[in-house]
Symmetry: C2
Subunit: 458 residues, 2 copies
Amino acid sequence: MKKLPVTDAVWLMLENRERPLHVGGLQLFEYPDDAPADFLHQIAEEFRAGTLVKKPFNQRLSKPYSKLGSYSWIEDTQFDLDYHFRHSALPNPGRVRELLSLISRLHSTLPDRHRPLWETHLIEGLEGNRFALYTKIHHSVVDGVAAMNLAMNSFSPDPQVRDLPPPWARSRSDLRIDREHGAREAVDASINKAGSGARTVPGVIKALRDQYKQARIHEAEVVPYQAPPSMLNQAITGSRRFAAQSYSLARIKTVAKALDGTINDVVMAMCSSALRTYLASQNALPDQPLISIVPVSVRPQGEDSTGNAIGFLLCNLATNVGDPDARFGLIQDSMRRGKARLSQLSREQIVNYALALTSPMVLGQLLGFKGDRKPMYNITISNVPGPRETLYWNGCRMTGLYPASLMLDGQALNITMVSYADSMEFGITACRKSLPSVQRLLDYLDDALNELADLAGV
Amino acid sequence: MKKLPVTDAVWLMLENRERPLHVGGLQLFEYPDDAPADFLHQIAEEFRAGTLVKKPFNQRLSKPYSKLGSYSWIEDTQFDLDYHFRHSALPNPGRVRELLSLISRLHSTLPDRHRPLWETHLIEGLEGNRFALYTKIHHSVVDGVAAMNLAMNSFSPDPQVRDLPPPWARSRSDLRIDREHGAREAVDASINKAGSGARTVPGVIKALRDQYKQARIHEAEVVPYQAPPSMLNQAITGSRRFAAQSYSLARIKTVAKALDGTINDVVMAMCSSALRTYLASQNALPDQPLISIVPVSVRPQGEDSTGNAIGFLLCNLATNVGDPDARFGLIQDSMRRGKARLSQLSREQIVNYALALTSPMVLGQLLGFKGDRKPMYNITISNVPGPRETLYWNGCRMTGLYPASLMLDGQALNITMVSYADSMEFGITACRKSLPSVQRLLDYLDDALNELADLAGV
């Protein structure tokens, strides 16, 4: 019986009807040319016939609720695959609209805490000779990056490979989850070493003090709680809207190069412009710029070349700036400053700096603060590196791969991007009630990329 | 702003993740001969285009939670039909198995309390040229009988009628809900007249005292808490299994006549035999007979012919009796005794007798007793009179009509029957974890009817 570390258990303590706390992933596939009519039915039957279920997919909570956050995983001896694995279908005409409507619904429901906290849906009926796979896993089991790795390792770059086992029949070690780069493991390690944590405090305080000093001089420098109140920052309800679309990575790269920026600068600018248009359409664009928290991968100071660390920075989205050129410049400057600050810290300091930025948020939720307080930041925007090669699942080409995230009270919108082969895959997760018609952001992101391409003259 | 009476509000107070408290209904329809391929898509589009939403379908809770049970309905000014009305589909091969798997899932999820507490799903892809409609409504809005009436009034006995509005565009008064026969209204009235309630206490006590006296002499006489512990009476989890099937009403009538019993005697005996087989297969058949609570319609004493009242009786299901003849006799005797006792009471006494039987159960749930106490009864079995004529929905013949019920802690199974045209429609709702493979009851009910037909020699 393995006791959950506090960083996992907190996701169980925070969960309620308004706040389901799982992460999800949606993948689209093309049928192989020679697929029989009952291709998916056959796959589903094969999956159902298999009895191998490995950790963590066969683990349930020993007690489903604990006020003090004391949770343990035990094996579910009554494991019921039919509950976890479901074959679904889209109604006629099976457009992406019908798919996103189904995913919005599936992403809204709470899991049964008496069972392992995951579900996989195999979805037929998508137009264009395609089908979809949607998986949700509770954040107490894996974080978003691990969930994506877990999904990715279920597929193969080889279109000839067949008989790939379902994800739940692969063990965690089979899945080669890249734990070295996991932010959560680092946080766990840091919390477990309170002494070393304390040792890093002066460095973190120095970094924050410098940040506040610079913010008085430079617009691009951002400090916590500078974010304006906005409609993105309300008490959330339990129903979700999920929207997703692919954008050309080649085009984003070309724009980035012409503007002398990074891919990340361009996607941040796309989000900024889309948010600006959306909020203006709702008569809710704040006079002050929106502030985003952004996880970034940085090389810590004083370490050899054995890998990067995940840190968090606050980025000025310049949503109050009308001119696209000036807006891009400000966003780019803000990202650069944030990264420069992080890279001056050690690995442990980076973790503690991240805790300083994120723990007031989590503490607020635990203490029951509603989303009506001044936000520390307005939105989370994550850009996660994904697979570079085209992947296949039993000969079916994966044509899309979209992350679905979770939300906390006071944070009604999350935008997460994953790069995949020659695409940048956007997944938008929102509180359906707080943000009406938020799926329009997909079109606004298109407009934003066009605007940036015009600016870059490409 | 209308404050909810305590009998409605209690269903909101009792609800949690393990205990969603809505009732549901599933209807099957045949496509008309001339239906185009996009028939359902057209209906769905028409429904979506309509803007008329009447009470109670446009009413949300003014505050979603209240520890003291003080709830009010207000109009949802941000009403979002796409949340409430959903077009779904079954995967290939679209058997009843796939349908029941979907309904089990839909019946398990909690509604968003920030919206009106109902959902309707139009489901395509059912084999045999059929489609389905599933509706769930929170028990705080309507009880099971009202929900069925509400659904029934959305259809027509005339196959020629077209352009029937969706249920949510019809008002409560349009729906002609037969409130006179509603048990809940009577309970409300009784609670609101505490004085008259007190006046009926001696009569109720006399009835209970007599019941206990008779129970010492007659096996068929049942008293509260005589029920044995059983696997039906455990703490429940949040996932449901829904199973449903039609049985020939003509055959049940023939058997009833040959055995000199009522239709209700026969369906009770069917349930008894099916439960006996199921529990034996799980090595969990108690030595003592299972006890069912049964709502029945009785003519109260001392009233003219202006209608019946709904009372509750406890029935000895004789699940410990191997001989089908003796088992049927005991069940029949138990039902007769229960009805005779109720018919000696006045209308108000019937209500208070019902409260005496059911309120310890509800109080126990409110006080957080788990399902591990001695049960007052083992199972609820309801037989609700339904429409006698075949009904149509925009020219589509309704071929099946099944009720889905709710469950409380310590009551992991509910069997509800509705008569419809020439069928008896069984709906079985169960806690998916407490009762493995409970869908097998459908086959055991078939076997039970055959056994009774053999016994009756028909």
